[in-house]
């Protein structure tokens, strides 16, 4: 008989990081095929619809890149906070606020063709996202209120605020009472990056943000302080790194990224304010951040994968009639399997002979 034991790793291994994400994806696919069978579809057809069809046309690839844009941007922002163990799960609301604020600017300057309109909207959107996340930071710092709950609640409030605005103050007067705003002027829109697709230059912002995140995490003193705060709060206190500042910065960065992602949606594929701005990008980005091992480079890959699942879900619904719930289930499974596989990251699993077994746990 052989027994299994866990041994802490002396150093983090890059290979293990890849292994973890790879095994999470593999396990999700495995469980996914069972799901397809449950729905009476052949797994081959299912996977073809999910993961191959979207990549067969330029339009499909464009859709993947389109959905990757907000996921990438938001996940980069969230990962910085997660490393500091500040759990901002309300990026959805920060995205909505960014969209509302930028949308209000676009509607206000409806006829403007200024070159500064879009940059102005990006800045306003980022500030609005920061302000919304800042509420959670302020409540945590002054009242010790749990930021997980507050950011979540704020997301729901943001959604109601959006509903109110598009059915009231910001509704298009000539819009036959549809809950949507006027269409933005061209100056308020990102330009198209790839012909025959909807991919906009917002993708470039997301990629630049990824590089900035990489520099911030790896090279900046501030990034270092946040990581220390997450790994060992007592050490951060000893070194004089302010815990309050960690909370503020973590939430503000996440809010700014989500706010800009919101601008990217309303000034990109949507072109107006409406009830549905995001199909849960803010929540999916949490999964993207973890699946990318909270690493700026890893997140580029995981955001592409998550975008593919979004687009593939649409294809699978249209071509083989799988319900949209499958997309959500895939997302949940990815994170679940990622967490299960993560054991490999901090521990080596050793199969050993019981005679030389070193650790035995009486409780297991």
């Amino acid at each position: 008989m052989r027994s299994i034991r866990l041994e802490p790793r002396a150093e983090q291994s890059l290979l293990a990081s890849f292994l973890v994400s790879g095994s999470a994806i593999l396990l999700t696919l495995l469980a996914g095929s069972m799901l397809f069978v449950f729905y009476g579809k052949s797994p081959v057809a299912g996977f073809h619809a999910f993961f191959v069809e979207p990549l067969q046309t330029q339009y499909g690839i464009g859709e993947v890149l389109l959905k990757m844009t907000p996921l990438l941007l938001i996940a980069q922002g969230l990962a910085i906070g997660f490393r500091a163990r500040i759990w901002n799960i309300g990026a959805e609301g920060q995205l909505i606020l960014g969209a509302i604020a930028a949308g209000t600017v676009a509607i206000w300057f409806e006829t403007s063709d200024s070159l500064f309109l879009l940059p102005g909207m990006i800045i306003v959107g980022a500030l609005a996202g920061m302000a919304w996340a800042g509420i959670a930071a302020w409540l945590r710092v002054t009242f010790n209120a749990n930021e997980i709950l507050v950011t979540f609640m704020l997301s729901n409030i943001a959604l109601q605020l959006l509903y109110y605005l598009v059915t009231g103050p910001l509704r298009d007067p000539q819009g036959f009472n549809f809950p949507q705003s006027v269409t933005f002027s061209d100056a308020a829109m990102f330009s198209i990056l790839l012909e025959d697709t909807r991919v906009s230059t917002a993708l470039i912002i997301a990629l630049v943000a990824s590089i900035a995140a990489w520099i911030f995490v790896r090279r900046s003193m501030l990034g270092y302080q946040l990581i220390v705060g997450g790994l060992a709060p007592a050490a951060a206190q000893y070194a004089g790194f302010s815990a309050k500042r960690t909370i503020w910065i973590s939430l503000l960065i996440g809010g700014a990224a989500a706010g800009i992602a919101g601008v990217g949606e309303v000034s990109g594929p949507l072109g107006m304010l409406q009830r549905n701005i995001s199909p849960g990008y803010g929540y999916a980005a949490i999964i993207v951040a973890f699946l990318g091992a909270l690493h700026p480079i890893g997140i580029i890959f995981s955001s592409a994968l998550m975008a593919l699942i979004y687009v593939g879900g649409d294809y699978a619904r249209l071509s083989i009639g799988l319900p949209s719930a499958v997309t959500t289930i895939f997302q949940g499974m990815l994170l679940t399997f990622y967490l299960a596989s993560s054991l490999l990251l901090s521990y080596k699993i050793r199969f050993s002979d019981p005679r030389v077994a070193i650790q035995r746990s009486p409780a297991s």
Binding site: W87, A145, P323, G332, L335
Partner: protein, 307 residues
């Protein structure tokens, strides 16, 4: 039209019941040191499974049972992730919560918009004949009473029994409990499982008794309010009970204000439970001593045996 006082009393108890079930389950899990942020997903799964069972079999008891089992199964995933796989409790709760929302939508897909017969009201003899209070408090379906009974049972378990003492000790220091020979991981897993099952019953109550129709997303944030309720109640049962009914009253307020035709944007009313949650959370959390005296010390921390 019903007397408004009766309406408020009766409505409050019914509206608070689903949250009370889930909150009692979450309390037990947190007392053992495990945070479960997936309550929303577990309530959703319980609601869908419970609804589909009642719709196909007509049996409410079976509906609650299936709701509890399905949500329990989902919570088992969380339990295993945080005990065996040493996963971060926040991330794991979110993962399982998302999974639950997806599964719930999948289960309920073919029943969207359909209704079932609500759970029968049970008049308590004599008491229900009292004017106002009688029909207000003592003419409810059985689950309303069972939720109260459960709350009392949990209070008794936690404060007066050996198993409760063991759960509390694990919540304070899993390492010390382990050193005394208690099976920390197993007990934690069982507490999470119980929490999931109770969330499932709460969800099933929502879908088969409170508003007996199925609509995707009908749990509508209640699971998150439940997590917040534990903090409001500072891990003390009577306070959590009070909180659950207060939030029941808030949802009711929303309906009555709309019914009265006051000129308040409906979105503000829909947002009000969340706004109130944030305000109460801030007010209660401000008192750090209160929180630290009652919250389980090891809450949210991963425990690895044998190291």
């Amino acid at each position: 039209m019903m007397d408004p006082i009766i309406f408020v009393l009766a409505g409050t108890l019914a509206a608070g019941t689903s949250m009370l079930f889930a909150a009692m389950g979450e309390l037990v899990a947190e007392k053992s040191g495990v945070l479960n942020l997936g309550v929303e997903g577990m309530m959703a799964v319980g609601a869908a499974a419970g609804f589909v069972t009642v719709a196909t079999t007509g049996s409410h008891s079976l509906g609650f049972l299936v709701g509890a089992l399905t949500a329990g199964l989902l919570s088992l995933v969380h339990a295993i992730l945080v005990t065996v796989f040493l996963a971060n409790q926040v991330a794991s709760g979110l993962a399982v919560g998302i999974l639950g929302l997806g599964v719930s939508a999948a289960i309920g897909k073919n029943f969207e918009g359909t209704t079932v017969e609500p759970l029968a009201k049970l008049d308590i003899p004599l008491l229900s004949d009292f004017p106002v209070i009688g029909p207000g408090l003592f003419s409810q379906d059985i689950m309303v009473y069972l939720a109260m009974l459960l709350a009392f049972g949990i209070w008794f378990l936690m404060n007066r029994t050996k198993p409760g003492l063991i759960i509390r000790s694990i919540g304070e220091s899993p390492a010390a409990a382990h050193a005394l020979g208690y099976r920390v991981l197993l007990i934690r897993a069982l507490c999470v499982l119980f929490g999931g099952a109770m969330a499932g019953i709460g969800g099933a109550y929502l879908a088969t008794a409170y508003t007996p129709l199925w609509a995707e997303g009908m749990v509508a944030g209640r699971g998150w309010i439940v997590v917040a309720l534990i903090v409001f109640g500072t891990w003390i049962v009577p306070r959590i009970v009070l909180g659950a009914y207060l939030f029941g009253a808030v949802t009711l307020l929303e309906l009555s204000i709309q019914a009265m035709g006051l000129n308040i944007p409906s979105q503000l009313l829909s947002a009000s439970p969340y706004i109130i949650t944030i305000i109460v959370l801030a007010v209660i959390s401000r008192n750090k001593t209160l929180i630290s005296l009652n919250s389980p010390v090891s809450l949210g921390q991963t425990f690895k045996a044998g190291s």
